[in-house]
């Protein structure tokens, strides 16, 4: 069996969201912590794509920042079996991820200049031109500023920049969610082609199951800082185990049956500062029973090959 390139084990990240010290003292309020990521574990094999899916606020972007080292974990382990400089990130907002005062050439060359300081100006310029061509832009675009490009083009500049560091592993934090649907496909296809040509590994974060279906080998569905279910893509779509996954799948419009009876996604995501007792999903779950309110389901080895954290699914219940 191949060794995973990234191993994440019981990862936890808490944020202190309490009021300032003086206010706490005067108003007698306790400290409040938010568990953005709460005991997450997964592995990624080289050359594969693992997708993290979930509603906003479920901690997927925090995992991206933990994996890339922008945040330090509060607990648990992240092991990257490779050169840490070979990890790059593609961000969600193509308007904020490029310095508006820098020319594209300088933006793309920054990783080159930082990670390979011996690069000469001529080499850097040639490499930037090459990278821009790889992502479908022209080498002459190096002289322009980011505001002269559309969202899709900017995201391709971000990809070129990430590739300049010659990465093995790319963390993509909702790389297409800020783009028009027509442009999303272009960027996704480019990313797939790059993965094929360069053997890249992706940690792909998205809230959109239809995007993830196109990209991922393995999908992890997250709810309130925990992984509810993790399965290979085909299995997840064919046989969703967790009631939350089924709710998410139900929200995808179906071309074959556009007017089918879709159960609307009920309720709101509870606040991660004061999560519900037991299984955090139980207030919204159609299958919840007494035990769900009391105990926290774990992805134990005996439950479906560690794939789902749900008491109902463990008992074989799948229908309401």
């Amino acid at each position: 069996m191949t060794r995973p390139i990234l191993e994440v084990d019981a990862l936890e990240r808490r944020f202190d969201v309490s009021a300032p010290w003086l206010n706490r003292l005067l108003e007698g309020k306790p400290r409040r912590t938010l568990r953005a990521v709460d005991g997450v574990d997964f592995d990624i094999l080289p050359g594969q794509t693992l997708a993290l899916v979930g509603e906003s606020g479920c901690g997927k972007s925090t995992i991206a920042k933990l994996v890339t080292g922008l945040h330090a974990p509060s607990d648990g382990k992240i092991r990257f079996n490779g050169d840490p400089t070979k990890m790059q990130m593609i961000f969600q907002d193509p308007f904020a991820s490029l310095n508006p005062r820098w020319r594209v050439g300088r933006i793309v060359a920054e990783p080159l200049r930082t990670l390979f300081p011996e690069t000469t100006d001529v080499q850097a310029e040639a490499r930037v031109g090459e990278l821009l061509k790889t992502v479908g832009l022209s080498p002459a675009d190096a002289a322009k500023y980011p505001h002269e490009f559309s969202g899709g083009q900017r995201q391709r500049i971000s990809i070129a920049r990430a590739l300049a560091g010659e990465p093995e592993f790319l963390v993509c934090d909702e790389p297409t969610s800020a783009l028009d649907v027509s442009v999303q496909a272009q960027v996704l296809n480019l990313m797939k082609r790059l993965q094929r040509d360069m053997g890249l590994t992706y940690l792909f974060i998205s809230h959109d199951l239809s995007v993830v279906r196109h990209m991922a080998d393995v999908i992890a569905v997250m709810y309130l800082g925990r992984i509810a279910e993790i399965q290979p893509t085909a299995d997840l779509f064919a046989n969703p185990l967790h009631p939350y996954t089924r709710m998410l799948l139900d929200t995808i419009p179906d071309l074959e049956a556009p007017k089918r009876d879709r159960a609307p996604m009920g309720g709101e995501v509870p606040s991660p500062v004061s999560p519900p007792s037991g299984c955090t999903f139980h207030p919204r779950c159609p299958l919840a029973f007494d035990r769900c309110k009391r105990e926290l389901p774990k992805r134990t080895p005996d439950v479906h090959d560690r794939r789902v954290a749900c008491f109902a699914a463990a008992e074989g219940k799948t229908d309401v």
């Binding site: 922008l70 790059q88 961000f91 920054e110 832009l137 002459a140 002289a143 082609r193």
Partner: protein, 325 residues
């Protein structure tokens, strides 16, 4: 993929070989929104011309003034108290008259403007460099570093500006030997004006730096381990400069006024190297003996300088404000 190749084609069509950088940046200034806004605002053009006139006459004062007001040998007592030239008793070349020691007022004003402008400019530069660095550090690192720097600023702001400045000049002049006092008068004044005014720049930069620090391009740079000082200088600072430019321009006018105030109070420039404030202080004594021109003309010059600086500052603030475009 078909779409990808299409964009490539259009991109190569619109962009030809890159031009030489120098010419491109000149053209960029000529075509910029800022230059257009400047041309279409008569008040800004007027203020800039006025300020340029003042700056040039001050710079070339030794070549265009009829006498050197600092050269005591050139002063003749029988030329004293001559009124301006349009008065019956007026005499060429004393266009704006002379003071009680026979010093030509116009020459004194031009030499005095020179000192006022230099002190104003230098104190803005000094306050700017301290304020920018401390503000960047506070905004980027946050935490206790931020607390220490900003509380220090709060303490400075809780005391009246002029009081701190007087304190600094008084302590400095009291502790210096007599010979050094006059030589160091200008540097001490620059320090006295800069010390209370760096806080405003620090606050402005800190606020922008805190916003920029969270932006994804900064995170992207942190990810590849670009050094913090490089991130601050190359990424964050250029994106915080707009509000700073406006504040610096407006503070330039304020610094010239502060210098004049200190000199008027007698803690600024000494009478043998008079700034506009010193001239006004000296002239003030003769106001009621009918020698009005000794005080009025330096005061008018001071007004013109500060007015033109403020007009440019106001225009700049509006021109750089994206909401008013």
């Amino acid at each position: 993929m078909a779409n990808l190749s299409m964009t490539t084609e259009t991109d190569t069509e619109t962009d030809t070989a890159p031009q030489p950088a120098r010419r491109a940046s000149l053209a960029a200034i000529r075509d910029s929104d800022l230059w257009y806004s400047f041309r279409t605002h008569p008040s800004a053009v007027f203020a800039a011309c006025l300020l340029a006139l003042v700056a040039l006459t001050a710079l070339f004062a030794p070549w265009i003034t009829p006498q050197d007001p600092y050269d005591l040998a050139a002063l003749e007592l029988w030329n004293s108290e001559i009124p301006p030239i349009w008065n019956e008793a007026g005499q060429w070349p004393y266009i704006l008259g002379t003071d009680t020691q026979g010093r030509d007022i116009l020459s004194a004003i031009l030499y005095g403007s020179r000192i006022s402008l230099i002190i104003g400019f230098a104190s803005v530069i000094a306050a700017l460099s301290v304020g920018l660095s401390l503000g960047l550090i506070a905004g980027y690192f946050g935490g206790w570093v931020d607390n220490v720097i900003m509380r220090l600023g709060d303490v400075l702001l809780s005391m009246p500006f002029i009081l701190i400045a007087i304190l600094i000049t008084a302590v400095a002049t009291a502790s210096l030997p007599t010979g050094l006092k006059d030589v160091l008068a200008a540097p001490i004044l620059i320090l006295a004006i800069a010390v209370p005014s760096w806080v405003q720049y620090a606050r402005t930069v800190r606020a922008s730096a805190m916003v920029e620090r969270k932006k994804e391009y900064v995170q992207a740079a942190r990810l590849i381990r670009v050094k913090p000082w490089r991130i601050m200088l190359h990424h964050i600072l250029p994106n915080c400069l707009t509000p700073i430019l406006v504040a610096a321009t407006l503070n330039f006018g304020l610094a010239i006024l502060s210098e004049a105030t200190l000199s008027f109070l007698g803690v600024g420039m000494p009478p043998d190297q008079p700034s506009l404030g010193t001239l006004i202080r000296i002239g003030n004594q003769y106001l009621f003996s009918g020698l009005w021109w000794i005080v009025v003309f330096p005061a008018v010059q001071l007004c013109l300088i500060v007015l033109s600086v403020n007009m440019i500052g106001d225009w700049l603030r509006d021109a750089l404000n994206p909401k008013l475009r």
